[in-house]
Symmetry: C2
Subunit: 290 residues, 2 copies
Amino acid sequence: VNSPTPSRITVLGPGLLGGSLLMALRQRHPEVRLQAWARRQESVEEVLKRNAADHASTEIASACEGADLIVLCTTVDSMSSLAKEIASAKTAPNCVVTDVGSVKAPVVDALEEVLQKSGCQFVGSHPMAGSERAGLDAAKADLFEGAVCILTPTLFTTDHALQTARWLWTLLGCRLLEMPPDEHDRKAARISHLAHLTAVVTTLAALRPDISAADCAGNGFRDTTRIAAGDPAMWTGIVGQNRNEVVAALKDAREALAELLETIENQDYKGLLQLLREAKHLRDAALSRA
Amino acid sequence: VNSPTPSRITVLGPGLLGGSLLMALRQRHPEVRLQAWARRQESVEEVLKRNAADHASTEIASACEGADLIVLCTTVDSMSSLAKEIASAKTAPNCVVTDVGSVKAPVVDALEEVLQKSGCQFVGSHPMAGSERAGLDAAKADLFEGAVCILTPTLFTTDHALQTARWLWTLLGCRLLEMPPDEHDRKAARISHLAHLTAVVTTLAALRPDISAADCAGNGFRDTTRIAAGDPAMWTGIVGQNRNEVVAALKDAREALAELLETIENQDYKGLLQLLREAKHLRDAALSRA
């Protein structure tokens, strides 16, 4: 039996991801009623001015009333306390709750526990879409098109919740992967969180001594450091929630950097060539998987 | 007095950069006679088949005959020995020689010495254009459009050579910067060579333990590691020629990585936030300069 299509969807946090979600739903599922929650009154007004949602409020109870699908698009730090308010809101029966958080195990653990006694059903999602820009201004209806979205069902996940999440992200143009929350966190640490931190390392090492070096920047530097322009508070939250995996990935980066440095200091250009070949091979093989 | 516009230009090494140079000159300076040198006969035939040059040869003497501008588009390792052959070719009087090498001090030192007793006049150039792809197949006429090109004149550089190099790169759409060779190498180590090596570090640390993590890759990982797919032999040559500056930059990267790791291991999220803010500030300021 297929789950019924949601008719009332609430987005919490209409920033880059939440705003893009609202815009995409408006385009691809025009019969749905869209509701939004924002922390600040100005954001609520901005959402309504743009007609990004049919109803918007700074009150969770008001924004979630009657919803049969709720998507948390806030920072990972704040999801647990928001879920408590969702649990006491008058949502529709069997309301599905999901999120877009970059870390899954702590979010899934917390939200399953908070929501289990409410009528809501939770499943974690992580659409691998984003930008170094933030906020509703940067939102766009096709942000999720072609992106990978990872769903992280557990033993507690209902069929209805999983089907609804699959429906949502497929509608938005994502390619779906499913894996346990801890596998997600291990892989995201390597691929996403590490890349953010090495972009920070590159930027600091390149520009701290003399920012005028930036005058010589080509596309290589621009691309390699782009994500270092992302929101520092958001990334601090992500790293904090996935600390152990991030530390393991950073230690491997420290080791790889030491290997490179050693070959170069020793003028071991055979060894350097070997490392550059290994990286090229891995990068080429990785992209042919994607 | 303006220098006369070159009427016969020879490109050595019709790969990504040399091939793009030939195509751009054909478009923007159609009256010029284009000559090309390639090491392999198949490359010569490919150049002629595509009509990328009017004459092509595996012999330096033949490819450089009558040239009033010669551009070395080979790896930095090979430039000094090629310049010796240029010095004994029958070039036009006051022939200007320049290059596209990513390292300048050793190239400029060697080529000024080799060419000083010939009738040729050298000035170093470094257009900050490229791609992780290589070869004539990847060449395109607009590769240089909008790129920064750094000229590195010295006390030995003639006005004619500098004017001719300025004419060339301006014609191709570059924005010009001029600085001494050692300043170029210090800045290129920070901006370009370091970014390459940190992309290698990110790739190795991300994918060595488990390449299936690549299934989760979003744009962030793709952009941050793109240049790690570049030609390993070419990059080994560049790093070797700019060893001292690259080692200094890598040591700063090692230090920045250690700082990040320490804040995360100590759960010092205030310190982490501060580092991410510093990087964002530098990246934003750097791009507003470019």
